[in-house]
């Protein structure tokens, strides 16, 4: 009896020992310690009227600069229609209705992305089917191509652009963010970007996930999704990864140029859900996992990088998520911060935004500044989509 009791106690004690987590420790320089010189200051509104079939948030929203001016556009998933507004006047310029079925169809655009090259060239990507289409404001489909590749040459990634990681066109190439198709034990050949040439239709996969992803299992797939933007002055692409404080600078043919450390002053550390990377391939991903859900929605991360060619600065958006205790009481509000970096990636400012007022994923750059969507105003008027325009200022607001 005594031996059984001792064994039981030993088993209980050893199984109660918690796994040691590897943490990414954040540095002070260029995160909490920086010379604050820039401020994001509210300077007006950009507003568009919404019809009775259009809601607030959409998976694909863009402001594109074309030879005809700046256009704000989004895909209305309910009606398979791209709405295109002139930024200068806010007026609706075009409604591009795309077919679900038939020879001129793009499928159901429930999960899709788009970008406007000009009014004769609109790229639409159907994420569910892998169909890439070139269309125009008359809904004519010029050509289509399938980007999904299960042959093995795709390195197990799926093109998955999103509102925070839109399709970027550079010369004759489209650069499209990729998400992981499956969990692995080594991500050194898991590429972040698909480069698709519009003329030759050739494709290349560029830039593997950073080494930090091999340090453990980081939970839900969105923790592995890159965001990037193009700097036309340096001709480099800058990549952001949710769990890496470093920004990665890449050439247009995928070579690493350098990396720059920057972090939000509101993020102290980051650690994986499991230090054992194999957990991801052993786990049954078809079963609801409360622990993973709570981890994913309570661990702050880096959402996006935006290059501002008008002011030659970068904006980095970080999700400042609620604590796990707060999440369990029902708080799903996500605050966010925007860091301002100069052309050399030196941090010059940071501002935090209340997630109950501003929508973190709906941040668009125009010549006027950063446009951030207002959730609170939509709650009081469902027929208006409002953005507050934030301009860069060297004077601290009162």
């Amino acid at each position: 009896m005594d031996r059984i009791l001792v064994c039981f106690l030993l088993i209980t004690l050893t199984s109660g020992c918690r796994e040691e987590f590897v943490e990414i420790h954040f540095e002070k320089e260029n995160s909490t310690d920086f010379n604050e010189q820039f401020f994001l200051v509210e300077k007006g509104r950009f507003e568009i009227d919404l019809d009775n079939k259009t809601g607030f948030a959409h998976r694909s929203m863009q402001i594109n600069s074309t030879s005809n001016g700046e256009y704000f556009s989004f895909i209305n998933e309910k009606t398979n229609t791209i709405y295109i507004h002139e930024v200068e006047t806010s007026k609706l310029a075009y409604k591009v209705k795309l077919e679900h079925q038939g020879p001129n169809s793009v499928g159901n655009l429930q999960v899709a992305s788009h970008t406007i090259i000009n009014l004769d060239s609109i790229v639409v990507y159907n994420i569910n089917t892998g169909g890439l289409y070139l269309t125009n404001t008359k809904s004519e489909i010029y050509w289509k191509e399938n980007l999904l590749d299960y042959s093995g040459d795709s390195f197990g990634v799926n093109p998955e652009p999103a509102i925070f990681s839109p399709i970027v066109k550079i010369n004759d190439d489209l650069f499209i963010a990729c998400s992981i198709g499956r969990y692995l034990t080594d991500y050194s050949k898991t590429y972040s970007v698909l480069k698709f040439n519009l003329r030759s239709r050739n494709r290349e996969y560029l830039y593997a996930l950073p080494q930090v992803y091999n340090s453990g299992y980081w939970g839900t797939v969105f923790k592995y999704m890159p965001s990037f933007d193009f700097n036309p002055i340096t001709r480099h692409i800058v990549l952001n990864y949710p769990i890496d404080p470093e920004l990665h600078v890449m050439s247009l043919d995928g070579k690493e140029i350098n990396r720059h450390y920057e972090s939000s002053k509101y993020i102290e550390s980051m650690k994986p859900l499991r230090t054992n990377i194999s957990y991801g391939i052993k786990k049954d991903h078809g079963v609801l996992d409360t622990e993973q859900t709570e981890y994913s929605f309570s661990t702050s991360d880096f959402l996006r990088i935006i290059y501002d060619p008008y002011r030659n600065v970068y904006y980095r958006i970080a999700y400042i998520r609620p604590s796990i205790e707060s999440l369990r009481t029902g708080n799903r509000n996500i605050d966010f911060s925007i860091s301002i970096l100069d052309a050399n990636f030196i941090k010059k400012g940071e501002r935090k935004f209340n997630g109950q007022i501003y929508k973190s994923s709906m941040v668009l750059l125009s010549s006027e500044g950063l446009n951030i969507a207002r959730k609170d105003l939509y709650d009081s008027n469902e027929d208006l989509l409002s953005y507050t325009i934030f301009k860069l200022d060297k004077t601290k607001p009162e």
Binding site: I4, L5, G55, K78, G330, E382
Partner: protein, 139 residues
């Protein structure tokens, strides 16, 4: 050894009984915040999470089901986690929303109880207990 084993069983039983009662109180408190009152005898409530909050196909099928059968349902229906009320209203119609059996959980109290789920659920109450939980999960 037998005494030790019996103590373990008793502890497990006691902790599970307390958990059931807590779940009931937590759920009925959340329902009362949405003005759903449980009557005497056996009653039911169908809780449907909003699109994007869980199993998408399950949610749209459950929504279609309650739309078709609302007049004959004995359960109240509560929609929680609705992201865009404008689009939701467009989908189900004002007449449906005006039905006295239909409730909208605007503060999302029912998204975070111990019986919350990504699946639409029908819960049946009897006495002060959750008697039955059925997921609207076709898989």
């Amino acid at each position: 050894m037998k005494c030790f084993f019996n103590c373990c069983v008793l502890l497990v039983l006691l902790s599970s009984c307390k958990s059931e009662e807590e779940n009931y109180i937590e759920l009925t408190t959340s329902l009362s915040k949405v003005n759903v009152q449980l009557t005497e005898g056996e009653t039911g409530v169908i809780i449907i999470p909003g699109a994007g909050s869980g199993c998408g196909s399950c949610i749209s099928q459950a929504t279609s089901y309650v739309l078709d059968y609302i007049d004959t349902l004995s359960s109240n229906v509560v929609f929680t986690g609705v992201v865009d009320m404008k689009l939701f209203r467009l989908e189900v119609g004002d007449d449906f929303l005006a039905n006295p059996k239909v409730f909208i959980d605007k503060e999302n109290h029912l998204m975070n109880t111990h019986v919350s789920s990504i699946y639409p659920r029908q819960l049946t109450f009897s006495g002060k207990k959750i008697k039955r939980v059925v997921d609207f999960n076709p898989y």
